[in-house]
């Protein structure tokens, strides 16, 4: 754009900085294979690169050496799609609070650092390859009840249903979840309570969600359990590591919703 200037510059990708790094990256050829760490050295890393751009450079280097590049999930690179999912130095999305892997920049690391990169670890998220895991379980939990049953064309005028600003703001804060799975990866029990509670809270806080409030809590929790996610022991690592800083209050609300539902219904 300022773009790519001349052909010779293309050869300089990843040659602009002065950081040298040692990487220990989890490699695993498929879900059934035994994986292991591989060591890589990377020089000339720029502090202005994002963490994933640093991986782009690593992959170009591997291709140059005739080795298979590292597979990792990524798409928007703006911190909103929820695809990226690296477990960096023992923390989902790395060292910064409220930041996804794609928005983490190399200025958060020092020259000479060793960085360990693993996939999310949870039996409900089997590894597909290298750092890529299968998060379909989240979609199935949403299918179980994470919606308002309103067919297209049935809606009333939007302003005929005033919603207190505070409720709307709280519902939005819960709805900001990007479904990346960092909460599960952070939890020692691999519990999905933060993810599930964010959706249940959003809809429980809004008048549109009232009709299915009980059945939603029951069905989503039942599906969460069926997927093999662990139980919640209120450690709070999920919220501390969540890149969108989804609050633990949502888990408290989910517990209230669930217990309330169980007292009043026997649907599930």
């Amino acid at each position: 754009m300022p773009h790519l200037k001349v052909e010779s510059d293309i050869k300089n990708i990843g040659m602009e900085g002065n950081m040298s790094l040692s990487l220990k990256v989890w490699r695993q050829s498929d879900k059934d294979a035994a994986g292991g760490f591989e060591d890589y050295k990377l020089a000339h890393v720029s502090p202005d690169m994002s963490f994933l751009e640093m991986f782009d450079v690593l992959n170009e280097q591997l291709i140059e050496e005739g080795k298979e590049p590292v597979s990792f999930d990524h798409d928007c690179r703006e911190g909103i799609c929820g695809a990226c999912s690296m477990y960096i130095n023992g923390r989902p999305h790395g060292p910064l609070r409220g930041v996804t892997t794609c928005q983490l920049h190399m200025r958060s690391f020092k020259d000479g650092d060793t960085i360990v990169v693993e996939p999310w670890r949870a039996s409900a998220f089997p590894v597909i390859k290298d750092l890529v895991v299968d998060r379909d379980a989240f979609d199935r939990v949403i299918s179980a009840g994470g919606f308002v049953s309103v067919n297209t064309g049935n809606a009333q005028d939007a302003n005929s249903l005033p919603i207190a600003k505070e409720s709307a703001d709280d519902a939005f804060a819960a709805a900001a979840c990007i479904g990346c799975g960092a909460c599960v990866a952070a939890c020692k029990n691999a519990s999905a309570m933060l993810f599930v509670s964010a959706k249940i809270s959003q809809l429980a806080l809004l008048p549109q969600g009232q009709a299915e409030r009980s059945i939603r809590a029951e069905k989503m929790v039942a599906q969460m359990d069926a997927e093999g996610f662990g139980a919640c022991t209120n450690t709070g690592a999920c919220s501390a590591e969540c890149p969108k800083e989804i609050s633990l209050e949502n888990i408290a609300r989910l517990n209230r919703e669930y217990i309330g539902a169980k007292f009043s219904s026997s649907a599930v």
């Binding site: 929820g82 249903l161 709307a168």
Partner: protein, 662 residues
């Protein structure tokens, strides 16, 4: 000029206001028992795809939906920031269906179809109703009613929003509707699947070839209709605000199987993006247009001024948008704001180390809001420091997430120093040519959302992409598809054993094998960068005939190089993103040539298409309505060979004028 006999837009008769309502009431219907036997394939699960899949399943059709991401919720609609337009007139500021229609036609520089755009404006209000009913948490006022803000190219407040995450909230709403149907068994969802060809039988689209990206297996899927909701092709420029995976492959395969490509050269360059920081850059990040509600854009009055922005006194700043366009100021449409920034930087007034940036400054807004807070709290002798502190708090509430993102990416604090911004590729108005029913030139093959060319002419207004995606999916296709499927009730299940399926699958397999066999020296990534450089330099914000002719030659050479020197690692029997990328880059290269061809054909400037040879004395786009008031629809005839068909644009309700925002 007359419309080509190969193009029939099927625009209903009658007055503009009555076309859609009359047509909607007369489209043939399919009864519920027959719907159960009709299969619809939806490719892509962004706003258009997810809303279409959910709605068609609710109606009773059997739906199969495909996305290349690991979940439908990750489609790139999720990244839309600012908002969604609707002609609700909740602000009582004079908005109406007609005004939204008029603003959109004018914003598109008179290169969009009247009937389509009017329909879009008509259903815009229903979209907001539907989203609220589905639990989308839009921003609200203290009275509990919905809040609105302004976007470029309009003088009313009609944009609904959810902080700077409107696309996320809308997509999660549509996704929840889709997952609800998946749970009910009416949609079968295929994640991590990429469509690699369409299959036509006896002149009708009857299915697709998809690749399971985890196992590498090729799959045949039959259907009575196929909907491509696969987004735009901005990544042809390598650097854009699109997601890394956004690609043209599905649309391009359809094009090569008979779907005409409409207005391929109409590209939107968004004025406010974070500038490139170095050669490692993999994508660009947008700073929402909503920031132009409060931010003021400027450059130093002196060329090559190296002082930090904060140290340049007020009198030495050139607020060039306010100077050139006093009526709309910083809220001129995107094409105009982008060109004005380029003009200043090219003339040597750019800022930052690259000199390819202008300032977006919130200092005035901070002070204004700070004084407002002081006055609200009855404080009359507030110190400047307090005023600034209070003002920053207000700005944080409005734009906090965007300011955080800027800081995270650049390492600079935009509360303290002005943001540096520069235009970047953001959206493509061009796409598959579709008629009023959203059907392409292949019967049974439809295209929705950004993937089609239909509603934005030569320039899209802010907050209109979300509107169009959801209009197409929730409120247009569920009606218009009946016009075709009503005649398909006797067809029966589509057999994927037909020789057309076998042939298409074989071709896909052979292409993958070829890619793997070349084993050259250059990675797909580097080919993509080379293509991006050609496209940006010669088919970007400014184009001219000479450059476009050079670009076509360079792209043809690049295509040859690609097919003899690409190096794709691994093989096709497991998860292999390098192979996926190589496939996509190969299609981008072919598309690049067509875009240049289209830009070369259009000897005028309009909207985002700026041909340097055609401009007014003041540097504004100079249209040629006499000769170019048409949609270009390109038919693929063979390698490096296309035939142009023209759809004449007829304006019966709007007086054509030189677009002015002065």
């Amino acid at each position: 000029m007359a419309t080509s006999s190969r193009l029939d837009a099927k625009i209903p008769q009658g007055s503009l206001e009555s076309k859609w309502s009359k047509y909607r009431s007369s489209v043939p219907l399919v009864n519920p028992a027959n719907k159960r036997n009709l299969e619809i394939i939806v490719v892509g699960t962004g706003l258009a795809g997810a809303s279409a899949a959910a709605t068609l399943a609710e109606l009773g059709y059997k739906v199969k939906a495909f996305c290349f991401q690991d979940s439908p919720r990750r489609a790139h609609s999720i990244a839309a920031q600012g908002g969604i337009n609707a002609a609700k007139n909740y602000q009582n500021d004079g908005d109406s269906v007609y005004r939204l229609f008029y603003d959109t036609i004018k914003g598109g520089d008179y290169r969009a179809r009247e009937a389509n755009v009017h329909r879009l404006a008509e259903v815009s209000g229903n979209i907001i109703d539907q989203c609220v009913a589905a639990g989308v948490p839009f921003a609200r006022e203290y009275g509990g009613l919905l809040s609105n803000r302004s976007f470029g190219g309009t003088q009313v407040q009609r944009t609904f929003y959810a902080a700077g995450q409107t696309g996320q909230q809308l997509l999660l709403g549509a996704y929840s509707g889709l997952q609800r149907q998946v749970g009910m068994g009416t949609i079968k969802m295929y994640n991590r699947h990429e469509m690699l060809d369409i299959v036509n039988i006896d002149g009708k689209c009857r299915g697709i070839i998809a690749r399971n990206l985890i196992t590498g297996e090729l799959e045949r899927h039959g259907g009575h209709a196929v909907l491509l909701c696969t987004g735009g092709y901005g990544n042809v420029f390598y650097l854009s605000t699109n997601a890394m995976g956004s690609n043209v492959t599905a649309a391009w395969k359809a094009h090569k199987r008979g779907a005409f490509f409409g207005n391929p050269c109409f590209t939107q360059i968004h004025p406010t993006c974070i500038p490139v920081s170095g050669e490692h850059q993999s994508k660009l990040t947008l700073m929402s247009e909503s920031l132009r509600n409060d931010g003021r854009i400027w450059v130093p009055k002196k060329q090559n001024d190296n002082r930090p922005g904060n140290e340049i006194p007020e009198a030495e700043r050139d607020y060039y948008l306010e100077r050139r366009y006093p009526a709309f100021g910083n809220l001129v449409p995107r094409d105009i704001a982008s060109r004005a920034a380029k003009e200043r930087c090219d003339a040597g007034y750019g800022v930052g180390t690259s000199k390819l940036a202008v300032y977006l400054d919130f200092a005035a807004a901070v002070e204004r809001y700070g004084r407002g807070e002081a006055s609200k709290n009855n404080i009359h002798n507030a110190s400047d420091v307090d005023i600034i502190t209070w003002g920053k708090a207000v700005v944080k509430e409005k734009y906090g997430n965007l300011f955080d993102m800027y800081k995270q990416i650049t390492g600079e604090d935009p509360y303290e120093v002005p943001m540096r911004i520069y235009p970047a590729v953001h959206y493509t108005m061009g796409g598959l040519w579709v008629d009023y029913n959203l059907m392409t030139t292949v019967p049974g093959l439809y295209s929705l959302g950004e993937a089609n060319f239909s509603d934005h002419g030569a320039n899209r207004l802010g907050a209109s992409a979300l509107m169009q995606g959801l209009a197409d999916g929730y409120f247009v296709i569920p009606y218009t598809i009946g016009a075709y499927l009503a005649s398909e009730i006797r067809t029966g299940k589509i057999s994927t054993d037909h020789e057309a399926f076998v042939k298409a699958e074989t071709e896909v397999r052979e292409r993958i094998e070829t890619l793997l066999r070349i084993q050259g020296k250059t990675s797909p990534e580097l080919f993509h960068r080379r293509l991006g450089k050609i496209m940006w330099d010669k088919c970007g914000m400014a184009r001219n005939a000479e450059g476009l002719k050079e670009a076509i030659q360079e792209i043809r050479q690049l295509r040859k190089d690609f097919w003899s020197d690409v190096k794709v690692m691994g093989n096709a029997t497991y998860f292999n993103p390098e192979l996926d990328k190589a496939n996509r880059v190969a299609d981008f290269i072919e598309l690049g040539e067509l875009m240049c061809l289209d830009a070369l054909d259009r000897n005028e400037s309009c909207g985002g298409h700026f041909r340097e040879e055609y401009q007014t004395e003041e540097g504004e786009a100079l249209r040629d309505d006499e000769n170019y008031m048409y949609v270009s629809a390109w038919e693929h005839k063979g390698p490096e060979d296309w035939e142009l068909h023209k759809e004449e644009l007829v304006y019966e309700n709007i007086k054509i004028a030189q677009r002015s925002y002065k």
